[in-house]
């Protein structure tokens, strides 16, 4: 119960504390994670970026073909000899042509592939928010009008406390009956 009240009262302190804790833990992780990758991981990273030349639409990392297996061995050897990932990729690009590289380079025409989805998503988000705003405005105008109408007709917008209570009780009974629940249960819910 104490935790309960604690959580309710300082509405900003606890979430802020939790966020801070997560931030600290993540920072530490990010720094400690910056260890060098293993040769296996590096080989795979490079292999994922190269298209298997004898298959249809599979990367060297994925393809079960013998050719891909040989290429993985070459990548591993070159990395073990101290070449960088970029140098190995450049080597394959020289031998097989630039088509062999899997992920399109982020420059020139091919950068469109990365930019377009992001742009579309942002444009979509802006459109959704703008439309929602517009609807909200219209709803408010319409709502004000209908409230006026109701006020004109009845002379009072709000139900009286008694009416409200009677209505709530009726509604609760009906919902309970629909749900197949016995009547007269707990009041809240």
């Amino acid at each position: 119960m104490r935790l309960h009240t604690l959580l309710r009262r300082p509405i900003f302190i606890i979430p802020a504390g939790i966020v801070l804790l997560i931030g600290v833990v993540w920072m530490v992780t990010a720094i400690s994670a910056a260890q060098p990758k293993s040769l296996d991981e590096r080989t795979l990273d490079v292999a994922r970026q190269i298209q298997c030349p004898v298959c249809n639409g599979e990367s060297v990392a994925d393809s079960p073909s013998l050719k891909a297996s040989e290429m993985r061995a070459v990548i591993r050897q070159q990395l073990a000899d101290g070449r960088s990932e970029q140098q190995v990729l450049a080597y394959f690009s020289n031998v097989y042509g630039s088509d062999i590289l899997e992920s399109p380079p982020q420059q020139g025409f091919t950068s469109l592939i990365w930019i377009m989805p992001v742009l579309m998503l942002i444009a979509g988000a802006i459109a959704v928010v703008a439309i929602a705003r517009e609807w909200q405005k219209q709803a408010r105008v319409a709502g004000a009008k209908s409230e006026e109408l109701v006020a004109d007709a009845t002379g009072d917008v709000m139900l009286s406390a008694e009416e409200r209570q009677a209505l709530t009780a009726l509604l609760r009974r009906e919902v309970a009956a629909d749900e197949g629940l016995p009547l007269g249960g707990r009041e809240d819910g």
Binding site: L112, W114, L171
Partner: protein, 666 residues
């Protein structure tokens, strides 16, 4: 007289009746002659009967090994067991088109029978659209790509079926996927009919509500089976390769899922008419696009065995469908003025909008990546490949955002969620997510992307459990025991809680995907007999190899023992199968064994007699959750779809009251 002759005649007659159905439905609707409309509907039944006959004739030709038929000779052989011989019926293009046509005719029959009470003006146009699609398929079947073409020289034996397809997964995956594609024709037909007649209220939506759920279930099954087949047969340690053909199957699923959600807004609040119409039209067009892409071979894909020359016909049909859809849409746009009613972005409606934005965002990115190679070759004259990295980096984060919205949405009230209700509903799930976000790095997880992913999954799962617990405890407060209360909760609100099951399934699936994405290890290795290879604590020792030929199928199995901490825990037999006629195309037998929630996945890449074997070993953490989650999604979908008993009408609670009042009362 061969079986195929019956098939050929029935196939031709089916086209005749299809054209008649179109003509009589259109005339019946425009001239207001109910007799013609009924006649058109009856000829749908005739078309279905004729196409079933055609299919039976083709299967019979397969079973009696009628190699005079080119299609039979190219897709079966004497050595194949009867079930693959039967399944070869849809193993090639002509047969799968026929299967497609038959399913469409059967679905159309169902539509005619089921929707007697649908708005009467819609039905003739629904029939017209369905039969127009059927007509297209039948024209291709009869005149371009017929399964009943005869060879002048009859071969003694057939060529057999592509060995990759001789697999139990392949018996069910293509028909399910094709059926899924086809089942979107019905919502499409209703949407077009609504546009033609101008009956654009929510009635057409209500008419197809359960149908779209069924179609969604079928398509989900098709996708899952495809992933499962890829995992078990292809031997690359994964289940989804973002291959163009896989993407094509995913696209309509994404837009259909968006549609299923956004219709809820239209049904509840009357808005989003235009959007819903466009989504359902888009879903069908994407399904056709998928077929076109597979058949035309314009994009390099592992599924390229389906390549053929009917691509242009599908392109033409796609263009026609697109033009008709857009034309009608623009024509009716003035009537689609929605009743704008929107109170707050922080509401159920708002979350549905976010859901739709994200789903269509994923769909767009996937579509973009799929067609980009074509764009590139047109613009630059240079082909290129869009690798999995693109999809992972673009779709991945959006997908995570979707899971977050999925957790938030169902707990927001319609119209406007108050601040108190937000704090009340979300503090515990947020706490769960925070605990996960802190605990995982402390326990040694290094990838922050994965931690964030797991935390979001934990959050959304917690909201669902929280919601179920809350509903159960309210019922318990009314005197029901906890198990009964929970059972009743699900039984009484199938749509809502079925939806939660689907969500929970997707979360499980996401956990599996994150696990296998970030924590997969793999190693290639040449292992000599008696020697071993160790990966992640699993030691694999090569014991030898066996080679057995049964019924002309040669099965090679390498024997490895797996040990952990020095104890042998199991024997595994990765291998390959060689089918007669496909000696240079062995299919692999991948060994997959579960160790808790981790899969040990071994693929035999090669061998040198009994002296050594080359294997690829993958450690795939959490992959079993992918299948479990998929299954749960499917069960949830079926649960939603299952017929619901109606509550008695005319009650206060069914009238339009502000949701907040209802929330207080329940």
């Amino acid at each position: 007289m061969h079986f195929s002759d019956f098939g050929m005649i029935a196939q031709m007659l089916a086209l005749v009746f299809t054209l008649y159905a179109i003509a009589s439905s259109v005339l019946g609707a425009t001239l207001k002659r109910p007799a013609l409309v009924v006649s058109g509907q009856r000829s749908v039944l005739v078309v279905a009967a004729l196409l079933v006959t055609t299919a039976i004739a083709l299967i019979a030709s397969f079973l009696e090994h009628d190699y005079g038929l080119r299609y039979v000779a190219e897709h079966s052989s004497n050595a194949m067991p009867w079930y693959y011989t039967t399944a070869a019926f849809y193993g090639g293009q002509e047969g799968s088109l026929l299967y497609w046509g038959m399913m469409l005719a059967l679905f159309s029959t169902l539509a005619v029978v089921l929707y007697r009470r649908a708005p009467a003006q819609l039905m003739p146009w629904v029939v017209t659209v369905l039969m127009a699609i059927e007509g297209f398929l039948l024209i291709v079947l009869n005149f371009v790509s017929s399964p009943f073409d005869r060879l002048t020289i009859v071969p003694v034996d057939g060529q057999g079926l592509n060995p990759l397809l001789q697999d139990p997964g392949m018996l069910v995956h293509p028909p399910m996927l094709l059926m899924g594609y086809m089942s979107w024709s019905l919502p499409f037909a209703f949407a077009i009919a609504a546009l033609i007649t101008g009956q654009l209220d929510a009635r057409w939506l209500r008419a197809i509500r359960r149908w779209t759920l069924a179609a969604w279930c079928i398509q989900t099954t098709g996708l899952l089976l495809g992933a499962w087949w890829a995992y078990h047969v292809l031997g690359w340690g994964g289940y989804w390769g973002w291959d163009p053909v896989e993407n094509a199957a995913l696209l309509p699923w994404l837009t259909a899922t968006a549609f299923l959600h956004s219709t809820m807004i239209q049904e509840r609040r009357g808005t989003l008419k235009v959007w819903n119409l466009s989504l359902i039209l888009l879903t069908f067009l994407l399904a056709i696009f998928g077929t076109f892409e597979v058949r035309s071979g314009i994009i390099q894909s592992v599924h390229s065995f389906a390549y053929s020359d009917i691509g242009p016909y599908f392109l033409g049909f796609l263009a026609l469908a697109l033009v008709v859809s857009i034309g009608l849409f623009v024509y009716r746009l003035p009537r689609l003025r929605p009743e704008h009613e929107f109170d707050s972005v922080v509401s159920r409606e708002g979350s549905f909008l976010a859901n739709n934005l994200l789903l269509t965002g994923i769909a767009f990115a996937t579509f973009w990546g799929t067609i980009f190679p074509i764009l590139s070759s047109v613009v630059r004259g240079q082909t290129m490949t869009v690798g999995t990295a693109f999809y992972q980096q673009v779709d991945g984060p959006v997908f995570l955002a979707l899971i977050f919205v999925m957790g938030v949405g169902p707990l927001l009230a319609w119209r406007h969620a108050s601040r108190q209700s937000i704090v009340r509903n979300f503090r515990w799930p947020a706490l769960v997510a925070a605990i996960v976000a802190v605990a995982l790095p402390i326990l040694g997880m290094r990838s922050l992307w994965a931690v964030a992913g797991f935390a979001i999954c934990a959050f959304s799962a917690a909201t669902i459990f929280f919601e179920v617990w809350r509903g159960t405890s309210v019922r318990h407060g009314h005197g029901e025991s906890y198990p009964k209360a929970m059972g009743m909760l699900f039984a009484r609100h199938r749509q809502r809680y079925g939806g939660y099951l689907v969500h929970l399934g997707l979360i499980l699936l996401a956990v599996g995907v994150i696990g296998s994405q970030f924590f997969q290890s793999q190693r290639d290795g040449l292992v000599e007999r008696g020697k071993s290879l160790t990966i992640n604590g699993y030691t694999l020792t090569y014991q030898g190899i066996t080679d057995v030929t049964i019924d002309n199928v040669e099965t090679i199995k390498a024997h490895f023992t797996v040990s952990r901490d020095g104890n042998v825990i199991e024997d595994i037999y990765p291998g390959e199968r060689i089918f007669p006629g496909f000696e240079d195309q062995p299919t692999s037998i991948v060994s997959i064994t579960n160790h808790g929630l981790t899969d040990l996945y071994i693929f035999l890449a090669g061998f040198d007699g009994t002296s050594s074997a080359t294997i690829r070993v993958f450690i795939n953490p959490l992959v079993p959750l992918v299948w479990l989650g998929g299954l749960l999604m499917l069960l949830g979908g079926i649960f939603c779809w299952w017929p619901l008993r109606r509550a008695s009408p005319g009650r206060l609670s069914e009238k339009k009251l502000p949701e907040k009042t209802v929330e207080v009362a329940v």
